[in-house]
Symmetry: C2
Subunit: 431 residues, 2 copies
């Protein structure tokens, strides 16, 4: 009985006969030899079938086997630096479990729609493997960072009762005779969490029904949102900087092979170091002016503006103190200039735009009530939220980081759709 | 300048003067002394204010401070085994940041509706702290288990395009002119993932619009779902057993204080060990008979039935091979008895019922097509899923574990509503 081994573990079995169970990724022949490239989800291994070493029927099987057929390969592991993954299998046995029909994804170029329609199969490609392994690493790094720093995980609800800021970008559903809306952010709930646990975070899917078809938008995306009691804007920026540095280092350490597979230029990632530049909105506007960008002071930055601003720096740049009027009601005004909010956006380098948005929250009951009225929001919907200011209010701050945008940046992808296993876009709900 | 320290870290500051920033949890006086119990989210510390050591105004502040006011306490740390947490603060300075209005949650008994309406404040109680820290530990253990065992995280989509098995328990939403449904399980997507990555899992919220008001049901709950290629039912049970044992051990190791706070009887948890008993549906029915339970052979077990079955064992029990007709179309038939499905439910001990459901999937294209027809399901909706059988089908299996039911069991809670920060029930969408 020969041991079944994952390809990722073959280095521990050099010189031994093992069994690999997987799928045919590719093959080529050279007369007396078949080179079968086999994948099992953990890696690829070249399996060399020599005509003299196996039966004639078995050698014929190599001729018959089609791409993505499920196979069991028995053979002896040898080191071979020239081979994919550094190891090879000298085949003594080869069996087809299920012969695949003609595989729709050939090694030629396919259109995006075709690939997205076949996302369930496209996931088998080594490029998608690399991206989704980086995604996994980013998510693990996020959780490890907060877990190791004393944060408590407080999952925010997905169903929320109010469409306070209008329903235009909210998905709604019937909820036992009333209406519920899918969350766009767990922040308000995290504020309750921070008052209870000091340091909290949530991590889950969030939803935006934006009629937007840009390369940066998904209707369903994952966000991690920390919130900390007794934290001000400066502390919030320290936290965001530590957090993003941690993620970049972790990915460079554990997923270098994947980034190389994606032909990601590692130099810009390796240059990233603390402290990240911190500039005010006003300073960011100056950068746009110097670059002759037509921009109306007081408005929000668009994607193109963010690109120009971020290109002025090697590390992610933190832009703070936007005009209060374009920011949400819960932002605290800058005591030094009440026309500005104590908020911060972090823009990734190389034109990847905003990956983090956050800031210090208004902690004064009367001021917050005033803001809710000024924004024409229904006070009763925020009654529970105002309780957080009635019972032991403290300065607090937090932020949200979008997982997919971060993965797109780290992998150097031009479109966000490949950063999530089953992307949901305005015109994409399948498979 | 005195260092601000979290209560969880005071053991490193014995004999030093530090500052604690938090909230007043409770207080009592004894003439010349005030004992202020302060919480900061990481723990509780008794702060002793001696009339002679502080100014008269400051001593008066102790009289004035109300429950849940935010406070800054300065003092010297001393060890005191009799105190909560084992340390005490000899107070040299005390400041109220924000005086709280009369706190609605008094240390008396409140009704469930009242507490649920004030969930954003109820989270501050030490009982809720204990439960949610166990929840955090369970989630971390789940991820660690799969991450350490070579699984790749493949997040399943929340929006799904079809209501294949009827819309009665599905939440639906308008999706840019068409309809989308909120996921009930990521399984089908995980099968695609397993064919690509070998071993995968997803972890996220799932949704059931069940008109059910039992103590075991939430409309929004979190589920972790592994799926593995080249795995059969026995291997699936091995995996489930290893997984649950790992979680129980981890929680007992890291969250013992929280379980004790909840007055959880630890004995039944400590008894849990591998192997878990594995019994067939038929054997489970025998147990019901022996206990004189009125049960119709061929039907599914109800909550009360599960309680009786699980009470026959010390460890979680795995019940396999249910009648195929009461199970989903994708279950593989038992080759030894085609009236049975190769499925398994794991029932937690002490009457906590099903925490895991899973099994081996039908991997034969023709058989699966036949099952889809026999269940009157629309084949075109499953075309992508059938692709997994067209291109390199292999035996595979997996399961889903509900986080909240697991937490309820481990914490020994009678109702699932306290196991999630902001529970969503049929009649509960607030706060």
């Amino acid at each position: 009985m020969v041991d079944s081994v994952y390809i990722s573990d073959v280095s521990q079995h050099v010189g031994k006969e093992i069994q690999i169970r997987g799928w045919l990724y590719n093959k080529r022949s050279s007369g007396k030899l078949w080179f079968l490239l086999v994948r099992d989800g953990t890696g690829l291994i070249q399996s060399v079938v020599f005509k003299g070493s196996v039966s004639e029927e078995m050698f014929q099987t190599c001729e018959d086997v089609t791409q993505e057929s499920s196979v069991v390969v028995t053979g002896t592991v040898s080191e071979d630096k020239r081979s994919v993954g550094g190891y090879e299998l000298q085949v003594s046995g080869f069996e087809i479990l299920a012969l695949a029909e003609e595989y729709p994804i050939a090694p030629k170029e396919h259109g995006t729609t075709f690939l997205m329609d076949h996302r369930h199969l496209w996931l088998r490609s080594s490029r998608q493997h690399a991206i989704l392994r980086v995604r996994h690493e980013v998510i693990k790094a996020c959780r490890d960072f907060f877990d190791e720093n004393g944060f408590t995980l407080i999952d925010a609800p997905i169903f929320t009762p109010n469409a306070c800021e209008g329903t235009t970008t909210l998905f709604e559903t019937e909820y036992f005779g009333s209406r519920a809306y899918l969350t766009q952010s767990g922040q308000l709930y995290m504020e309750a969490g921070a008052m209870a646990f000091g340091k909290v975070y949530c991590f889950g899917p969030t939803f935006r029904a934006e009629k937007s078809k840009t390369r940066r938008h998904l209707t369903e995306f994952w966000m991690i949102e920390p919130e900390v009691a007794f934290l001000d804007l400066d502390g919030d920026m320290d936290l965001a900087e530590d957090f993003v540095s941690f993620i970049v280092k972790r990915v460079l350490k554990n997923r270098r092979a994947e980034l190389e597979k994606l032909e990601r230029n590692l130099e810009p990632l390796e240059k990233i170091g603390k402290p990240f530049p911190r500039i005010s909105y006003d300073e960011a506007v100056e950068i746009l002016k110097k670059n002759n960008i037509d921009f109306e002071y007081g408005s929000d930055f668009g994607g193109a503006d963010e690109t120009v601003i971020s290109q002025a720096f090697d590390s992610p740049v933190m832009v703070h103190r936007y005009p209060a009027q374009i920011k949400a009601f819960y932002m605290k005004d800058d005591p030094g200039d009440s026309s500005k909010a104590l908020c911060v956006d972090m823009l990734a380098p190389e034109g990847y735009g905003e990956i983090i948005g956050g800031g210090q929250r208004e902690d004064d009951l009367a001021v917050l009530e005033g803001k809710i009225k000024a924004h024409d929001l229904p006070t009763e919907a925020f009654d529970w939220y105002l309780d957080l200011r009635r019972y032991g209010t403290v300065p607090h701050a937090g932020f949200g980081m979008g997982i997919e945008r971060t993965v797109a940046w780290l992998c150097g992808l031009s479109h966000i759709r490949e950063t999530i296993p089953f992307p949901r876009l305005m015109h994409r709900l399948n498979p």
